[in-house]
Amino acid sequence: MAEVLVYVDHVDGAVRKPTLELLTLARRIGSPVAVALGAGAADTAAVLGEHGAVKVLTHEAAEYADYLVVPKVDALQAAYDAVSPAAVLVPSSAEGKEIAARLALRIGSGIITDAVDLEAGDEGPVATQSAFAASFTTKTRVAKGTPVITVKPNSAAVEAAPAAGAVEALAVTFSAQATGTKVTARTPRESTGRPELTEAAIVVSGGRGVNGAENFPVIEALADSLGAAVGASRAAVDAGWYPHTNQVGQTGKSVSPQLYIANGISGAIQHRAGMQTSKTIVAVNKDAEAPIFDLVDYGVVGDLFDVVPQLTEEINARKG
């Protein structure tokens, strides 16, 4: 069976969920060979093996943290040369897309980004993508070379599929470009204790209607009652009420959770682009004419400062 390279997104050996989803998709096309780089790379093998990785190619070097993107491209290319895979899958993070693009160029292949599904086809893997603020669904293939495909979080279920997960050291020679862009300082984000926005099963967002940073705890309390991530509309972020890393929409994150709860968000195209593919959509808004209500499975026309605390209290009561 053909091998499929899967680029592993991990933090000091802790594998992030989108990589496990990639293994599910990779198994539809062939047998997954994972590539884990940097500090803690070998620690990823156990969990990758449990989810179907037959092999885990690892390489640790300071370059991966000290320089931007290119060392990882060099390593993924080394793995490509070693394995000659049928496809290369990479998580669709900002960095993942850059790594994938540069690899595709080097190996003379086409690239597909932000796939939301993947299946085997007669002429190679077929990716499903969303286009034009998710108003269209396209089926896309790579026509030249080995398909390089980046896949968005929440595109597949994480499935247990025990495989060997045998660790092999990958030999990597860094290119002349590898040290071109130096990372001179790194400030880790403070952990909120909430799930990562793009990976969360439930997202609770606030918009203009939240009317101030001091009111966002109302949104956070609802999120915490559901174990959800917190999102914000561009209006709320531009006003400085919530960090840009939490922005949902065209210029922020695009999310596709099981449940999306929009509070005080009108639903402009810029926002819809980032949440329209959510499975179930719920909105609370004072304005009965807000376009967000065209998308909802359930909507409440009302003041979010009445509705949201009542909802939070009810959820906490039912849990208790």
Binding site: L68, L105, I111, Q177, T181, T184, V296, E314
Partner: protein, 261 residues
Amino acid sequence: MSLRIVVTVKYVPDATGDRHFADDLTVDRDDVDGLLSELDEYAVEQALQIADEADDAEITVLTVGPEDAKDALRKALSMGADKAIHVEDDDLHGTDAIGTSLVLAKAIEKAGYDLVISGMASTDGTMGVVPALLAERLGVPQVTLLSEVSVEDGVVRGRRDGDSASEQLEASLPAVVSVTDQSGEARYPSFKGIMAAKKKPVEAWDLSDLDLEAEEVGLAGAYSVVDSATERPARTAGTIVKDEGEGGKQLAEFLAGQKFI
């Protein structure tokens, strides 16, 4: 010596319009008004600010696109860029990101550059890979997705806000930079800027000017193919209730019914 800045821009269908695919599954550019991609305005803005700080700088805006794409160049010129290059050729229709990066890289090399500045992504394709592809093709450092950028003594520095960390980056020129919508609000063209833009030079290049063959680009040369495009079915109308004191409880009931609680 003059700092040569090339800003790559894209002419895209207005995102607030009713965007569609054409019969050949390329982006339909006829039925929706086009404009300079909003995310490229931030690139033009940062170029202008970097040029202001430099002793001597020249900003060239570069686009690859159909006839109408001149509008995007005109907008960038009216914001304050010095000159423009429009790569236009019928054979470019349907060119994908890999092909676009080839055409842009050839044009950037022909124009001459110290610094390339791009937006973080286009608002139509939204791939966000062209800046990385340009760096790979040009063989220069990639300093991308910056929410803060500065250039001093031949070194570009900036802040990249990632998912798990915020990084300070540094590279020597020449380099390819991309900036996010957090880099600073783009200026509106002044009346004076709009008038001045009419006199600024716009060079027109085609594939032969760049020593490129038709089969290297366009739909035929594309590295990826779209097999089908289906309009997403409208979401079925949901239940909408008016809050009369029990809205939160009603919503909780709905969520419980859907097994979210």
